[in-house]
Symmetry: C2
Subunit: 348 residues, 2 copies
């Protein structure tokens, strides 16, 4: 219990089984060119099991020059938004026999930070990285290790060879059409920070729906990944005259803040102000009123990103990809309705 573990090595298994480490290694790794007598095979497997042998990943990593681990770096790991994405990543890494480490992108530029240590010490074979608004393109290029296979998730960067993103445009369009269908004409958008690429895509989806309906896209303000940003953004919208009667919020946490702002401003949601958010999770059930959302395939995004990364680690291939499947899905709860009415029973 105390002190470092006494672990069993390949050599011990080998000597116990009366063979050499070489055979055991090749057997356990399923070397197809290896031919052993069935009895020896059994003996080796039995003793390996009996001794509880597990390969030492460190020695393995040194020899193979690969660690068998990748990292997932997102703006804030404790954000409920990343629950589904993390699940997708874990599923795909597990399937490939890899290990996924998680960390925060908030200190990408700090030399002692998680990301920097991880890549400098080569503790992973590759990285899934979601950009934050706090680091501009130039800083990003300077700070990110371009020698390590890196797939941008849910974000892109000009001239970056590998990325996988959501169909943000379709998601924002669906959300906007929901409000339009309910009869709203003054519709606002709490979008993302200008430096992020999904901001543009979601804006495009929003404004396409608006244009198609012959509506004007004013009431567009900037939000972010946290509730506070949505609160401030909504306050800004409430200050405009005339103010919108419905708002599309690009991120569910920002939407939580937007609801708070509406409440503080004395507005009833949805009777006086409809709110619909992109991304769906358990939190949406517990807001007041429960949030109508558009669910995007974050699980699939995570899983696909891992596949791209592992493919890249293996072959060096580049990819740009959008996850279209499953398509954005409307989840109607109680934060949207026609003006003056209670919660809508379904999409308009």
């Amino acid at each position: 219990m105390a002190g470092p573990a006494r672990r069993v090595s390949l050599a011990q298994v080998a000597s116990q089984a009366g063979v050499t480490a070489s055979v055991v290694s090749r057997l356990l790794n399923g070397d197809p060119t290896l031919h052993v007598r069935p009895e020896t095979r059994q003996r080796i497997l039995a003793t390996a099991k009996a001794l509880g042998y597990t390969p030492n990943s460190v020695a393995r990593a040194l020899r193979l020059a690969r660690t068998g681990a990748i990292a997932l770096i997102v703006p804030d790991v404790t954000s409920p938004i990343y629950l589904d994405m993390r699940r997708g990543v874990e599923y795909a890494t597990k399937r490939a026999g890899y290990l996924a480490l998680m960390g925060n992108a908030d200190e990408l530029e700090v030399p002692e930070g998680f990301y920097a240590k991880l890549v400098a010490e080569r503790r992973v074979d590759g990285v899934l990285l979601q950009r934050t608004e706090y680091i501009d393109d130039a800083t990003f290029w300077r700070v990110v290790d371009t020698d390590l296979p890196t797939v941008l998730v849910n974000s892109r960067l000009a001239r970056w060879p590998r990325s996988v993103v959501l169909d943000d445009e379709a998601g924002a369009e669906l959300a906007t059409r929901h409000l339009i269908g309910l009869g709203h004409t003054r519709i606002g958008l709490i979008g993302g920070p200008p430096v992020l690429d999904w901001t543009t895509r979601r804006y495009r989806g929003f404004s396409r729906a608006m244009r198609d309906a012959g509506l004007h896209s004013r009431w567009v303000v900037t939000g972010g990944h946290e509730a506070d940003t949505g609160l401030a953004a909504m306050q800004q919208l409430l200050g405009s005259t005339p103010r919108p009667t419905g708002v599309v919020v690009a991120n569910i946490l920002a939407a939580v803040g937007a609801l708070t702002a509406a409440r503080r401003g004395g507005l009833t949601v949805p009777a006086e102000m409809s709110v619909i958010a992109l991304h769906d999770n358990w939190l949406a059930e517990h807001t007041e009123p429960p949030l109508t959302t558009v669910k995007l395939p974050l699980y699939q995004l995570g899983a696909r990103a891992v596949e791209l990364l592992l493919d890249c680690i293996g072959s060096g291939r580049s990819h740009q990809e959008i996850v279209y499947d499953p398509p954005p899905q409307l989840v109607v709860r109680a934060s949207t309705s026609t003006l003056g009415a209670g919660p809508s029973p379904g999409p308009g």
Copy 2:
């Protein structure tokens, strides 16, 4: 950009500087028994810098038989509750030159799961582990690697030598006294799962406050770490007659669910039902009404746990510790009041 990185080794630095790897290693690691001419020292440092040398952590780990990393395993990494604890852990690990990996405790018993792979492959030198309600004592002993230094955080286990917990009793007592001070006499507790040790401690704090006030501790039900559990628990309380007029919730996410239940039950918080939660975070500002909470020193818990673990890795020492500092702190928002009144302006 494509393919694995071409990295510079100690040997390359050495030959470039006209010395051997041994000297470079000892110099860079600050070996006090090493004596080098100032000029050689400068030359070595200069070439190391010029070549951009970073030690290969894998080779280092193999040689030293320590990885320089620890793991933090909590019930759900994406839970906002762990934000502060994670910060504390990161601060302390960074300070010690260690790296902290984060993972979920939900699949502790799955052989291909994060925890199992991590410890079986010895990718970390030690583990900070928070128990979940889903694994009983026997399973825990079977599943957890007792050869690896492991500190239980925010949880304990009979005969487990190392743990650090919060002053749960004082926290629950403070919360309960707040409601008592507001004049409530029928006070409920949404506690934790029976298998977890903090459940007992928080119950003790609750019942002590109740006893001191001459009140009876009925209305005690079981909640958990998620909003859903708090929702179900509150529904249970609402079904009892007479029902409580105030509830202490042992976990802020459960409290979010409890608020939802009250709302669905048609009750106004706090006029008809006061709610106070243990743990404080950004979410409390955004519930309706904003949650009154008791803030516990989760940051300090995380930091202290790391110190204990590193001490244990170094020396094998055992510890049981409670983090008393800073003491539980009442954060009054709007979910508590005297019966029939609006939000209370301060503690009673």
